[in-house]
């Protein structure tokens, strides 16, 4: 990984829609060169996807729920935590799975249409996996910051329009 690659990653993480030509200008490079680097980052599975950060709370008629579930598991012989994690992340309602240190083993993030749907997922699908020992479900009430983006505050420029 060289400095140029890192800088391109930084720019794209800030705004994935920055045109390649603009990145080229910003970095004093040729557009083709930027294109080549981005392509290589994609091929090396460093850039996995280009996503929008969306505040669903601002989308009318959206009242989905998100839950973070602490899961304790008994790691399986041979496949260990990875195998259990895989069985969990294959479910489409699962948005994220992390292996954790501390009081529990896996942190699982679920998105559902209703609380009932999430509860149903936990009781019927997650808890019944034979290596899952226990679950603790926390419903997410409000997102303040996600992926480095602050959600609520007016992010307005507070400077005067013209100053010395």
């Amino acid at each position: 990984m060289n400095e140029k690659e890192l800088e391109i990653l930084e720019i794209l993480e800030g705004n994935a829609r920055t045109p390649l030509a603009t990145i080229a200008d910003m970095m004093e490079m040729e557009k083709q060169e930027v294109e080549k680097i981005v392509k290589s980052l994609e091929e090396r599975d460093i850039i996995l996807n280009y996503q929008a950060v969306i505040n669903w709370d601002h989308v009318p008629s959206n009242d989905g729920v998100t839950a973070m579930i602490d899961v304790k598991v008994a790691p399986k012989r041979e496949i260990g935590f990875d195998g259990v994690a895989e069985r969990i992340y294959r479910f489409p309602e699962v948005k994220a799975v992390y292996l954790m240190s501390g009081a529990y083993d896996l942190s699982v993030q679920i998105e559902g249409k209703t609380m009932k749907e999430v509860a149903f997922f936990v009781s019927k699908k997650l808890s019944t996996l034979d290596s899952v020992l226990s679950t603790t479900t926390h419903f997410l009430l409000k997102k303040y910051k996600h992926d480095g983006v602050i959600f609520e505050p007016e992010q307005k420029d507070k400077r005067a329009v013209v100053s010395p």
Partner: protein, 391 residues
């Protein structure tokens, strides 16, 4: 209310000072809605959170009284270490550094301590709007030395030499420069310093943009041989640490000069804000990473804006420092003031006419690229449309 005759009551000096040309645009632009602003002379970052925290903590601990006149000794020690580490400058915290309310006040007390009526102060122009009026307020005579786009707005030894006469006492340098973004390399400063020493001049070196040097690290004229003894360095926290509202700057220079400035500071200001000084301590101790990040971000935006400006028909040299681009608008046939005013009214983009920065500024506008990439892209689109109609 009945008006007294201002002519009768106002001092000669107050009447002789012209209002800043920026002020006019300030009023016009700040009343309009939906303006994309490139008219701002300050960072678009808010002060780093750890600095704000340090200021809160200082208030909670009851540090709400005056500090020593020259500033908290602890802060002066940090400034001394910082100047040594960043710019190889040697100043003793006790007698050679004064913490001021912004670089602005530093400039003021320096001139008040150094110029007498009749003394001329050379000022490389285009330059920061406050210099000439502050010289006048101190009783001196500002003498502009125009720099030109052909030289990338660098001041050359020849230009300097040709403006020196028997009244010339000192020269004000500001590199990286507001508004042109020009920087000077060590060799270029060496040539200037030869002339300065030959004519026995003092130097006031405003290095507030030193950290914002993109293509090479900043060289201070005070670090050159035999220059420290005749140079007063001015800097502050406004630009590099995104702390404009904290009003905190400093002076560093030879003890006899600084001690005279301290008298003026002590009687007119007492001391810089103590709470802000605690914030500044944190900035110097733990702010390096944030400074580097901000500088990297400005560099990218500079590269984009200057390239795009050239593309839409406003020729612009690549500025080496600060956060200003200074494109030429000559081709449009407008004066810089007409350009800025019409652009604001038609396309709602605020820029500052180059003419307000003095000799050599006409024909250019100052565009601050301390604005979000989105704002810069929108501005370029709008300026492009505006310029296209006039070329």
């Amino acid at each position: 209310m009945k008006q007294l005759s201002s002519k009768h009551y106002l001092s000669e000096t107050a009447r002789s000072i012209k209002p800043s040309g920026i002020r006019k645009f300030f009023d016009l632009a700040n009343e309009m809605e939906g303006v994309v602003s490139l008219g701002v002379g300050e960072p678009d970052f808010v002060t780093s959170w750890n600095i704000c925290e340090a200021a809160y903590a200082s208030m909670e601990s009851g540090y709400t009284s005056y500090s020593a006149n020259a500033g908290l000794l602890e802060l002066r020690q940090e400034i001394s270490a910082y100047l040594q580490k960043q710019f190889q400058l040697e100043y003793k915290a006790e007698k050679e550094i004064i913490v001021t309310t912004g670089a602005s006040q530093a400039i003021d007390i320096a001139f008040r301590a150094l110029v007498d009526p009749g003394d001329e102060v050379l000022i490389a122009e285009p330059g920061f709007v406050a210099y000439a009026p502050i010289v006048q307020l101190a009783g001196g005579t500002p003498a502009p030395v125009p720099t030109t786009a052909e030289n990338h707005f660098k001041l050359t030894a020849e230009q300097l030499e040709s403006h020196i006469n028997e009244k010339t006492k000192m020269i004000l340098l500001c590199f990286p420069n507001n508004p042109t973004g020009a920087t000077l390399k060590r060799e270029e400063l060496e040539k200037l310093s030869t002339v300065i020493r030959r004519h026995d001049l003092l130097v006031l070196s405003d290095e507030i943009y030193a950290e914002l040097s993109y293509d090479q690290s900043h060289c201070s004229i005070a670090s050159l041989p035999e220059m420290a003894e005749r140079t007063v360095v001015i800097s502050g926290f406004s630009k590099a640490f995104a702390m404009t509202g904290w009003r905190l700057g400093y002076l560093a220079g030879p003890e006899p000069l600084l001690q005279a400035m301290l008298k003026i500071h002590q009687y007119t200001m007492m001391c810089a804000p103590t709470i802000a000084q605690h914030g500044a301590l944190e900035a110097l101790r733990n702010g390096r990473e944030d400074v580097d990040k901000m500088v990297a971000s400005y560099r990218r935006r500079r590269n984009y804006f200057v390239k795009a400006s050239n593309r839409i028909g406003l020729p612009c040299h690549m500025p080496g420092g600060a956060f200003y681009a200074f494109p030429s608008i000559r081709e449009t046939g407008l004066t810089s003031e007409q350009f800025a005013e019409q652009l604001l009214k038609e396309e709602k983009v605020a820029v500052v006419p180059g003419s307000v920065f003095g000799a050599g500024g006409e024909g250019y506008v100052r565009c601050s690229y301390a604005a979000s990439m989105e704002a810069l892209q929108t501005a370029i689109e709008r300026i492009g449309r505006f310029v296209e109609k006039r070329l």
